[in-house]
Amino acid sequence: MIESLLFLCAMVSIATTLGIILVMFSESVFSLTGGTAFFQEVSVWEFFGSTTWSPQFADKHFGVLPLLCGTILVAGIAALTGMPLGILGAIYLSEYASPRTRKFVKPFLEVLAGIPTVVYGYFALEFITPFLLKPFFHDLLGFDVDGFNALSAGIVVGIMIIPMICSLSEDALRAVPRSLREAGYALGSTKFDVCVRVVVPAATSGIVASFLLAISRAIGETMAVVIAAGQSPVITLNPLKSIQTMTAFMVNISLGDTPAGSIEYKSLYAVGLTLFFMTLVMNVLSQWWMRRFREVYQ
């Protein structure tokens, strides 16, 4: 009796997953509630092949590539910012830091991880763009910097994923047995050699897994990107321009008065489905990588 009640509670998680998939599919691939679904009106070929995204104009085009481009641009900048800081920080915490320093630093990282993403968005818009990017890129190098730009959003998303990369990588580094390090020292290596040529290679699987998870998080990141990166769906690799990500588009649609059942409204689900699958693939890949390449030490 109690067991089946507890079992039902555990099944809520399965129901959630099924709910997400059902809702997305029903509105975008095949409608279960009557009416036509998104991909019955717009071909998959047009969705993934055409390069214009203008669902709210009179001349509607549904090519998701600009949104994908924006998302990947922001995630890429975030990876470039967050990866080095996160991994170097993890190496410091696991190999160099005294227990006291660790105990002091870890809560700060937790706070950094707990800051809401709206706050990061505000920080990017009000501080990083005017006080960091504009003086450097515009005044010093003479580039045009938009008020909303991908770079500031990417940088804050990068900051956001530092704690995640740092703590997961640190776990992986600490799982490397002491004997391996001692063997390195016994062979006359410096601490640097031990870190870079012994410990880090031994922990690669965990580090890569943390990286994939962080990228998945960066792809799904919403508020910081909505606030700081702008709302212009264009295909560009210039990080100083205003762009639009998939998540930003979804927020934009829900802020306007889009009637339920219209094609713009359904495009929300199609974009959501794309986003869901991208992050799902990253997460599954990360878990698989972890299992597949983990070195097992006795």
Binding site: E3, L5, L88, Y92, T190, D193
Partner: protein
């Protein structure tokens, strides 16, 4: 070194990829250590810069008036956060009510009862993936299921089509001039709370699982040996021992829910809201209209992060400072909760020794 006869010459036994001079090796080592140290302190410094810069913008705008008055779209000086604060209280209280019992129960099932069969393995795998689903996707789920209820109700809904009923809600209230419980729920507190519950459920389950796993088997064996049933063992021995760990996880999950914006924006939580859920802005209002307590979960709402987001989007310059003031309030609450979680963890990790 699998050589059976290791050479006595030290040079020959050191074929570490590339031979470095003693000096350069030291310099390299030193440089690397400082780079790593720099990376971690840089991250901490970013946190400092963020907090200081936001607080600097908020100075002069954060006062009692800001905390105690409703929003204003036209006069930034009169804007306040009361509707957001009360909205957050309602949403989070309901979220705790929904998510914590289900989450802890699911964790107990997975740790104590579940055998290693295909279904249970699938539940575990699914949980890890669910924790990685972007919050905005939960927003879409909540929008379709809780706000619109798949479009079942309403004049064009299925229910009307098949039965002819026009179900709009339950309990008509004269005071509010509308149903206390509307159908479909629409963009109300309870839709937000249910969505956030689904969002933090995986976090709570995973944290509770870890807390339960940390309880040593000896405790279980002792209780079972004394004749307690499995449920008695769980209820009276394991759960109490795991409470600190579960609490830490729950507090962190709640602080995540408090700061979560995207799913609630997807639900269409209103931007400028000039009232509290159920109009209950003081204790006397509760005394006058107790039915407001039923109405409140089914009333439109806003929460603190959405107010901040809304202020950030306003073109007027002053709203920039209002947003900063809102952020300071939000961060103060979150830092308090984070501190509480760290405190509980440190306290019990010190006192409990198995």
């Amino acid at each position: 070194m699998t050589d059976e006869n290791p050479s006595p010459v030290p040079e020959a036994s050191m074929p570490v990829v590339k031979r470095l001079g003693r000096e350069s090796g030291k310099a390299e080592s030193w440089l690397f250590a400082w780079t790593c140290r720099g990376a971690i302190w840089f991250s901490v410094a970013i946190l400092g810069v963020l907090l200081i810069s936001v607080t600097k913008n908020a100075v002069g705008w954060l006062d009692w008036q800001f905390l105690s008055s409703f929003d204003s779209s036209r006069f930034p000086a009169k804007a306040g956060m009361l509707s957001g604060i009360l909205g957050t209280c309602w949403v989070i209280a309901l979220t705790i009510l929904f998510a914590v019992p289900i989450g802890v129960a699911a964790a107990i099932y997975l740790e104590e009862y579940a055998t290693d069969n295909l279904l249970n393995r699938f539940i575990r795998l699914n949980l890890a993936n669910l924790a990685g689903v972007p919050s905005i996707v939960y927003g879409i789920l909540g929008l379709t299921v809780f706000v619109r209820m798949f479009g079942l109700f309403g004049p064009q809904g299925w229910i009307h089509e098949f039965t002819g009923w026009n179900l709009e809600g339950f309990f008509w209230s004269e005071h509010y001039g509308q149903y206390l419980i509307p159908l479909p729920f629409g963009r109300v507190v309870i839709s937000g709370a249910l969505t956030l519950s689904l969002l933090i459920l995986p976090v709570i389950i995973i944290a509770s699982q870890e807390a339960l796993r940390a309880i040593p088997p000896s405790l279980r064996h002792a209780s079972l040996a004394l004749g307690a049933t499995k449920w008695q063992t769980i209820r009276f021995q394991i759960l109490p021992a795991a409470v600190p760990g579960i609490m830490t996880g729950v507090i962190l999950a709640i602080s995540r829910a408090i700061g979560e914006t995207a799913p609630l924006v997807m639900l269409g939580a209103m931007s400028f809201v000039f009232f509290a859920p159920g109009n209950l802005d003081s204790l006397s209002a509760v005394a006058e209209h107790p039915e407001g307590l039923i109405k409140a979960p089914f009333d439109t709402f806003t929460v603190m992060p959405i107010q901040i987001f809304n202020w950030v989007r306003q073109p007027k310059e002053e709203f920039k400072y209002i947003a900063a003031a809102g952020i300071v309030v939000l961060l103060a609450i979150l830092l308090l909760l984070n501190g509480l979680a760290i405190l509980i963890r440190n306290r019990y990790s010190k006192h409990m020794r198995w």
